[in-house]
């Protein structure tokens, strides 16, 4: 039997509008699932009272016939979004106790459209990580499980991915700086889109790396992603990098017709040592698009190899600047001071206590690459390489490619505690297929396409031209329909 919390966003919307389901009942169904799902570590602050208030208001709107797509839809919100009066910590101890006095633009838009907030979702601290293990709340766990091990839901939007995959919400918000929507989506068998940089306002989202951060939906289907992206996107005068470009009807663009479109397969993504099953999945995805009438072509993105090292210069540099604001003065944690301690001791002790190890490392790397004498050698060089990476994509699109198909991750979900414990760089390699898009600012969507031999979900990634999310989602829709991925994790929690 299907419970209401298991519905897709599109199905829930239609049922609400037809009056077959009330927003309160749908919300209750999610809240019950959430309370039964604590073992997943997905929710870190539950907000049932807010949810039920919003659900009642949504029911009134539905009754009055004033119901946008999101009206009455229960969502999980990543902890990185500032939500008024509700803890918003980006999973960091340094923001312990912080309750914003304002609402982020994205959550404002969602709530104005009638969406319901179920609670705040787990993530890697300040969105820095690929396994959700660097959270001050503790790990989030992948609902997919094939042996005695607990697996990572990916990161940084690990709580969002786990919540959507386990039906602890209808959909969730995520943010993506180097792959933080797409990698967890791929690890949990759901859909996640990182829009074009500037499509969604960053105002009120706790910053990691401002030139790379972009928010997007994490959903149970491509149609859901199209609907929810429409509600999140749009120009915002409060974010100077938000683009003043009209938001198309993404759902209406899902025609399923990609005949004559040209899909590029970047040969540099065929990494040495890439597993046979990921390679096979990629080939299978290309076959599906070909069968739908697309032309598949080989393309070259020659600077791909340098994307990760460039990212790990640029992102920490921006993070070291953005995170300078956490000093124990205006919000969050302040260390207890000893007699005679001055303001410098206060800063140093507060930041040592408040930031986790990975965040400290990235701040220090960023500080180093921006310091006198190294700025040109590291930071400026990385920005030049970034320009070349962007140019690779521009050349491919100029040659007539409509979209690019690539793996989303090099492997299926790995076990918690298995990665990067001795060498932080090992964890960074998870982002090898996703990080290039953030550097170039391009939209990308992860779509579940199959299961690994071990029975875990595997996703493919489609990459689109700037501002062409509608066309990109249509390609993703074709891939989704052809793959017919319907597997759900077996409930163990």
């Amino acid at each position: 039997m299907t419970h209401a919390n298991q519905l897709t966003l599109a199905a829930a919307r239609d049922a609400l509008r037809k009056g077959e389901l009330s927003a309160v009942d749908l919300t209750m169904s999610c809240l019950t699932a959430i309370d039964a799902g604590d073992a997943l570590g997905a929710y870190v602050h539950k907000t049932p009272d807010i949810a039920l208030d919003q659900a009642r208001a949504a029911d009134a709107r539905l009754k009055a016939g004033d119901a946008p797509d999101l009206c009455g839809i229960p969502l999980g919100i990543k902890d990185v979004f500032c939500t008024k009066g509700v803890p918003s910590q980006a999973a960091s101890s340094i923001l312990a106790g912080f309750k914003p006095e304002y609402e982020s633009t994205v959550t404002t838009k969602l709530f104005t459209a009638g969406a319901v907030m179920l609670g705040k979702l787990n993530m890697d601290e300040f969105a820095m990580g690929s396994s959700n293990e660097s959270s001050c709340y503790g790990k989030a766990v992948n609902p997919w499980k094939v042996d005695s091990r607990q697996l990572t839901p990916g990161g940084s939007s690990g709580g969002s991915a786990a919540a959507v995959a386990a039906d602890l919400c209808i959909a969730a918000t995520g943010t993506d700086t180097g792959g933080s929507i797409r990698q967890p989506a791929a690890f949990t068998g759901i859909v996640g889109i990182k829009p074009t940089y500037g499509r969604v306002s960053r105002w009120g989202i706790i910053a990691y790396a401002s030139s790379l951060d972009q928010a997007g939906p994490m959903t149970k289907s491509v149609r859901d992603a199209a609907i929810m992206l429409g509600a999140m996107a749009g120009h915002d005068p409060k974010d100077s990098t938000s683009a003043d470009i009209a938001v198309p009807d993404f759902e209406a663009a899902l025609t399923g017709d990609i005949r004559g479109k040209k899909i590029g397969l970047p040969r540099e993504y065929r990494l040495e040592g890439l597993s046979a099953e990921v390679t096979a999945l990629w080939d299978k995805g290309a076959d599906m698009l070909r069968a739908a009438g697309a032309e598949i072509v080989d393309i070259s993105l020659p600077h791909t190899k340098y994307a990760l090292p460039a990212y790990y210069v640029i992102a920490p540099a921006e993070a070291s600047s953005n995170l300078a604001r956490y000093d124990g003065v205006r919000y969050g944690h302040r260390a207890k001071l000893s007699a005679g301690d001055g303001i410098t001791e206060m800063y140093e002790a507060t930041r040592a206590e408040g930031f986790g190890k990975e965040v400290q490392r990235r701040i220090m790397i960023g500080t180093y690459v921006l310091s006198a004498g190294f700025y040109d050698a590291y930071y400026n060089r990385a920005r030049k390489v970034r320009a070349l990476i962007k140019r690779d994509f521009e050349n491919a699109f100029a040659a007539g490619v409509d979209a690019i198909l690539a793996p989303a991750t090099p492997t299926p979900a790995f076990g918690l505690g298995e990665m990067g414990t001795t060498d932080p760089v090992e964890m960074y390699l998870n982002d090898v297929f996703t990080v290039t898009l953030n550097l170039a600012g391009l939209p990308g969507v992860a779509v579940p396409v199959g299961l690994s031999t071990s029975g875990l979900p595997l996703g493919l990634q489609l990459i689109g031209q700037p501002w062409q999310e509608a066309e990109l989602l249509n390609h993703a829709y074709v891939l989704e329909q052809a793959a017919g991925f319907v597997s759900k994790p077996e409930k163990w929690w």
């Binding site: 940089y197 090292p309 140093e348 930031f355 220090m364 180093y368």
Partner: protein
């Protein structure tokens, strides 16, 4: 490029993060590992390439230079660990 213990200490100081002396060797090792990973960038010919500053070329929008917000002192101070008499309070800065 390898980061020695003295450099690690200096970077931690610049970043205003207290690191115990016994933790410096491990930190220096990890930072060196990350920097070694970044050294790959030296293989790229970047002659004549301008550093990228923004994803889409766009001019920042202008607006009239007027006050658009304010008079919310209580909200501004609400989350402060120590706020007194309308100010953020910190340890003594000047002797």
């Amino acid at each position: 490029m390898s980061i020695d213990i003295e450099t690690a200490r200096r970077v931690a100081k610049l970043a205003r993060i207290r690191v115990a002396p016994e933790d410096l060797p491990e930190l220096a090792g990890q930072l060196s590992g990350i920097l070694t990973f970044m050294e790959q960038l030296n293989e790229v010919d970047v002659t004549g390439i301008e550093p990228m500053t923004s994803v889409t070329p766009q001019r920042l929008k202008r607006r009239a230079d007027v006050v658009t917000d304010g008079n919310i002192q209580a909200q501004v101070l609400k989350n402060a660990p120590d706020a007194r008499e309308g100010f953020f309070a910190v340890p003594k800065v000047v002797e």
